[in-house]
Amino acid sequence: METQFRFRADEPAGDPAVTVDSFGEQTNASAVRIEPGDDARVLLPFLDRLRLVEVNFPAYTDGRGYSAACILREAGYQGELRAVGDVLVDQLAYMRRCGFDSFAPEHPLNQADAEAAMARYPDVYTPTVDGRAPIWAKRHHSA
């Protein structure tokens, strides 16, 4: 799957992603793929050597990948976090908020629709790993 959107300046990692259960033994692997049932916390001891984490969405209605992404970013993961699979226009903004910074949709998305959807909401109510100031912070900033 082609990466259609990427919000990073560094060079993409070249390594192929391996599965979570084999990652621990592949001491030179720098890319891993998380499936919905995988526990993202298994990867936490290895964050310093990871350059790419792909989170697979076999069906966009399965929201486990959002928590996986948050958990990695909350633990300080700085590498690329890519949503792959059944990634659609109307999920992009929430995925960005959970720390995804690249997207490889199974079927390419309409560029204009996707950009509009990601830019639509001027503010957020809930703080997440994306660091955007929630509305409550803006309300009380000057106080």
């Binding site: 929201g63 909401y121 001027p122 503010d123 957020v124 809930t126 703080p127 309300r139």
Partner: protein
């Protein structure tokens, strides 16, 4: 009550634009129906048997007159002149055109309303006690805390594709008027021995096909950690809730299968982690919200007596009013259950009239109750008779709150594509059969669902009725002994089901057993709990002599 500021307003305005764009893409074919479905559901738009249904959120059931008036206008402009108030304190319209849905959302946004997350596998509208802020038995007004939850849960990016829908309720009184323990998360605000405010978390309750009463997993979460604790409860559920079978996907199944102790252990571990991330809104935000729920300007020293010489008025006062915390005032419940009516329905004219009456008699405020009625929370006793006359003249004077005619019913097979049987005609027949006996029977909560999803709360009815499909014929099962209050219990099935007329007869036999056996001031539920199922079952299934 809470009024949107510029931030809240721009969020609902953005949602209107968002949904308008989604509808455009659906209509031009670039969004397939199976891709559109969860999106429209998260905007409260269901495809029913005959048309789209739009469910509008009424956060914690509180409305202003202007908002209520708009709900009436929408009923006229986009529906067939009716609105249907629901068991989750919302309102839904049953005859909506997809093309017009964005315009309805725009009309709603103009009065600070929306349909955000009123359906779909996300955190739904948070409900609360319909008497909040008006009665003496609450430790605080629960609505500011529900508003904190509203903001936190609105467009929550991590929890918008949960295994299944997620319902929260917040109360602050030992008298549970919100069926709190039948929610995915029920929160009761409490004080500890030091007098500090906290939140008791009850997690994993629900109705549906596997009814469960939520266990308490933490009896005291400090109030300035309530949002963070909620986040922990949700994250464990989002990660580990079952997704292999939609009928086992609610959090109640996860809590049940893991066991309360193991689920709690996982939540506490996640909570410890999340506390390091500063997710909690600051105290200043809670104070900002609380200021908007300050008491209205009650007039002190008003007469605290009522002239009850008119017997019809006296009956309505006895049944449909509740003691107010302020002397000289009462809490009024307008029953939307006239004899033979459709439970929870109101015409556009009635909705607008209730809006006007709220402006004239109740400091501009109304509430929707989970029993599908409307509350005017702050009415002066010296104006009560005048109010009652206006209600009665508009067909809104039914004096049957919490009686057998005050039925909770789902839309059933008349509207709903999930239903197996009709609910509304059964409710209408029961209402008509018992109209003359309501007062004699007294408190009796009767609840009807048209399928096992239990939207009509039949598990929690003193008498519950479940409509099923048996070999292509509608069949109604009778349940007894449910209760959604502080002493929550689940109703038990009596035995074989009945046809539409038979179920009405069976209800009458059950109430006859009660009337013949009640002691002192016992309600139906008390007599049932004392006697058990046997005498009721015996009477219900007794063969008539030939």
């Amino acid at each position: 009550m809470y009024v949107y500021d510029e931030y809240d307003q721009q969020m609902v305005d953005a949602r209107v634009a968002d949904f308008r764009d989604q509808v455009r893409r659906r209509l031009d074919g670039s969004l397939a129906e199976d891709q559109f479905r969860p999106l429209r559901l998260m905007n409260g738009l269901y495809l029913q048997l005959h048309a789209y249904m739009l469910r509008v959120a009424v956060p914690y059931g509180t409305l202003s007159s202007a908002q209520m008036r708009m709900l009436g206008d929408i009923a006229d402009k986009y529906d067939r002149g009716y609105g249907h108030f629901t068991t989750r304190q919302n309102i839904q319209y049953n005859w909506i055109k997809l093309e017009e849905a964005p315009d309805i959302l725009a009309d709603l946004a103009s009065v600070g309303m929306h349909a955000i997350q009123t359906s779909g596998n996300c955190i739904r509208n948070t409900t609360s006690d319909q008497y909040a802020g008006a009665i003496a038995d609450e430790i605080v007004d629960p609505r500011p805390y529900a508003e904190l939850i509203r903001q936190w849960s609105t467009f929550h990016p991590e929890f918008s594709y949960l295994p299944r829908k997620f319902k929260m309720a917040v109360i602050a009184s030992d008298t549970d008027r919100a069926a709190m323990r039948l929610h995915d998360i029920g929160i009761q605000l409490v004080r500890n021995a030091a007098g500090e405010l906290g939140a008791a978390f009850y997690v994993g309750g629900g109705m549906g096909r596997t009814p469960m009463i939520a266990p308490c997993i933490n009896a005291f979460v400090p109030i300035d950690q309530m949002i963070t604790y909620s986040e922990a409860c949700l994250r464990v559920y989002n990660r580990h809730g079952r997704r292999d079978n939609k009928y086992k996907a609610r959090i109640k199944i996860l809590v049940h299968e893991l066991g309360k102790e193991e689920y709690t252990r996982q939540v506490e571990a996640e909570f410890a982690h999340l506390l390091t991330l500063n997710l909690e809104p600051p105290a200043a935000e809670l104070e900002r919200i609380k200021a908007q729920f300050a008491d209205p300007a009650f007039v002190p020293g008003l007469p605290d007596t009522l002239d009850l010489s008119d017997p019809a008025f006296a009956l309505w006062v006895k049944n449909n009013t509740h003691t107010h915390k302020q002397a000289g005032y009462v809490v009024v419940t307008i029953s939307l259950k006239p004899t033979g009516g459709i439970p929870g329905d109101a015409s556009a004219d009635q909705i607008r009239l209730m809006a006007d009456l709220a402006a004239d008699y109740s400091f501009d405020e109304l509430r929707v109750t989970h029993a599908q009625n409307i509350v005017l929370p702050h009415v002066r006793k010296d104006q009560l008779h005048a109010l009652w006359q206006k209600l009665a003249a508009a067909g809104l004077g039914a004096a049957n709150l919490d009686q057998i005619g005050d039925i909770i019913a789902c839309p059933g097979l008349d509207y709903c594509s999930l239903a197996n049987a009709r609910s509304i005609p059964v409710a209408q027949k029961i209402s008509e059969r018992f109209a003359a006996k309501e007062e004699e029977i007294g408190e009796l909560k009767l609840k009807i669902s048209g399928c096992i999803n239990a939207c009509g709360h039949h598990h929690a009815g003193h008498i519950g009725i479940l409509g099923v499909d048996r070999k292509g014929v509608e069949n109604y099962q009778l349940l007894l002994g449910g209760c959604e209050g502080a002493d929550t219990s689940l109703a038990q099935i009596t035995g074989p089901g009945f046809d539409e007329n038979g179920i009405v007869d069976a209800v009458e036999r059950a109430t006859d057993v009660y009337l013949a056996n009640r002691e002192g001031g016992e309600r139906f539920l008390d007599t049932y709990r004392r006697l058990g199922m046997a005498p009721f079952k015996e009477a219900i299934y007794r063969k008539e002599p030939a």
